[in-house]
Symmetry: C2
Subunit: 233 residues, 2 copies
């Protein structure tokens, strides 16, 4: 993903890279155990046998460390989704969509705190820096690719007229997407993504706790219905 700066030459650089990795690893352990707000630089320092101020040689602030974890979380999710989608035959569009959906949900259930970090409420007074927006779009990109492949093959997502105000507001998005994918298709894809991410967040929040028992089959069913609206299958 991010270009690793060649090979560390000197022992110092080597040690620095190593310690940086260890700090991030410890931070992720704390994140998974206690959540974002429970992540403390001092605890990480203790883990590594350092004094707290030493960590500031590697990350200028707790927020920088959080940013690193956010980027890694986006990439972890993106990798998991792409891996799941990659093993499905290219022409099996429904299979690819379901692989994306299940891949995302499985990753979320395994890494709830990381999910909360990227799709949950923003950490107080933390503004997502530029570096996080590119990895943040990976799932959407994968999804739109499936949709574009499908349209090229002749599937027909439900199509409705799109008001001109909406079309006008989507210009920046249009340029990133193949022309065969119409605005109506594109919106259907965004809605499918909302359905996917929304469901996972609600499930992690426990919003189905006292109403739905078999969340696996419920999710499967909901995602298949969503696929229908995309004309897949």
């Amino acid at each position: 993903m991010t270009q690793t700066p060649a090979a560390p030459r000197t022992a110092r650089e080597r040690a620095r890279a190593e310690l940086t990795r260890e700090i991030v690893a410890s931070a992720r352990r704390h994140l998974e155990a206690e959540g974002a707000a429970g992540l403390s630089l001092r605890a990480v320092a203790r883990d590594l046998g350092l004094v707290s101020s030493a960590v500031y040689r590697y990350f200028p602030s707790r927020d920088e460390l959080l940013t690193r974890l956010i980027i890694e979380a986006y990439d972890g999710l993106g990798d998991a989704v792409d891996a799941a989608e990659g093993v499905v035959a290219r022409q099996d569009l429904l299979g690819r969509w379901m692989a994306v959906a299940n891949g995302a949900r499985d990753w979320a259930l395994e890494h709830p705190q990381e999910w909360a970090l990227i799709y949950g409420s923003p950490v107080p007074g933390y503004a997502a820096p530029q570096a996080t927006i590119a990895p943040g779009t990976r799932v959407a990109v994968t999804l739109i690719t499936i949709l574009a492949d499908g349209v090229a093959e002749g599937i027909e997502p439900v199509t409705v007229p799109v008001p001109s105000a909406v079309t006008a507001g989507m210009m920046r998005l249009r340029e990133l997407v193949p022309a065969i994918v119409t605005d109506s298709h594109l919106i259907a894809g965004l809605m499918a993504r909302t359905q996917l991410l929304g469901h996972i967040s609600l499930e992690l929040d426990g919003q189905y706790n006292n109403s739905i028992d078999d969340l696996d089959s419920f999710f499967d069913h909901v995602m298949r219905r969503t696929a229908d609206t995309l004309g897949l299958g």
Copy 2:
């Protein structure tokens, strides 16, 4: 909502109720200004000219204060949604749905921190207490009511076969919903709710920041398409 315990008789009780209200009010101001993690009991105490420990006479912990704010947020959202939906003619089902959608979004945009508190990632090590689950279902209840009214009037939401595993897992939910609303209808309603809540959360998270400009008309369009799947309008 919550039964206020009659009238405070003695001056002591009166003062206690008054101070409790002031604490909550100050806490909500801090929540709106700095977010959930920026909410500190000591700051609230300073606001009210109290010493920090005095606040513990009224709320046994910061979490209890947060719980109070969560309940009030759910009720604030519920009130806003119900108020918006209440002024629309009963038989105008699409109008009622759009009122709910816009009511929820408007409230969220006005109270982003409160929204994050109830639909964002759970605060670290904070487990939603029993008292929060009832007010947490108000939007869903309003939605299902519209759907039930519609089905009674003869609308026909898109209907698909529901696998038996899904049906079996929904028994607890079934008992709360009129029988005319089939499982397929009910799931369509839940999916509409997911679309609504998911969209709002993504918008607040800034996930549309560099792609969609006119979020008002985009939201309107998406919600109308969602209404289509419910057979409204």
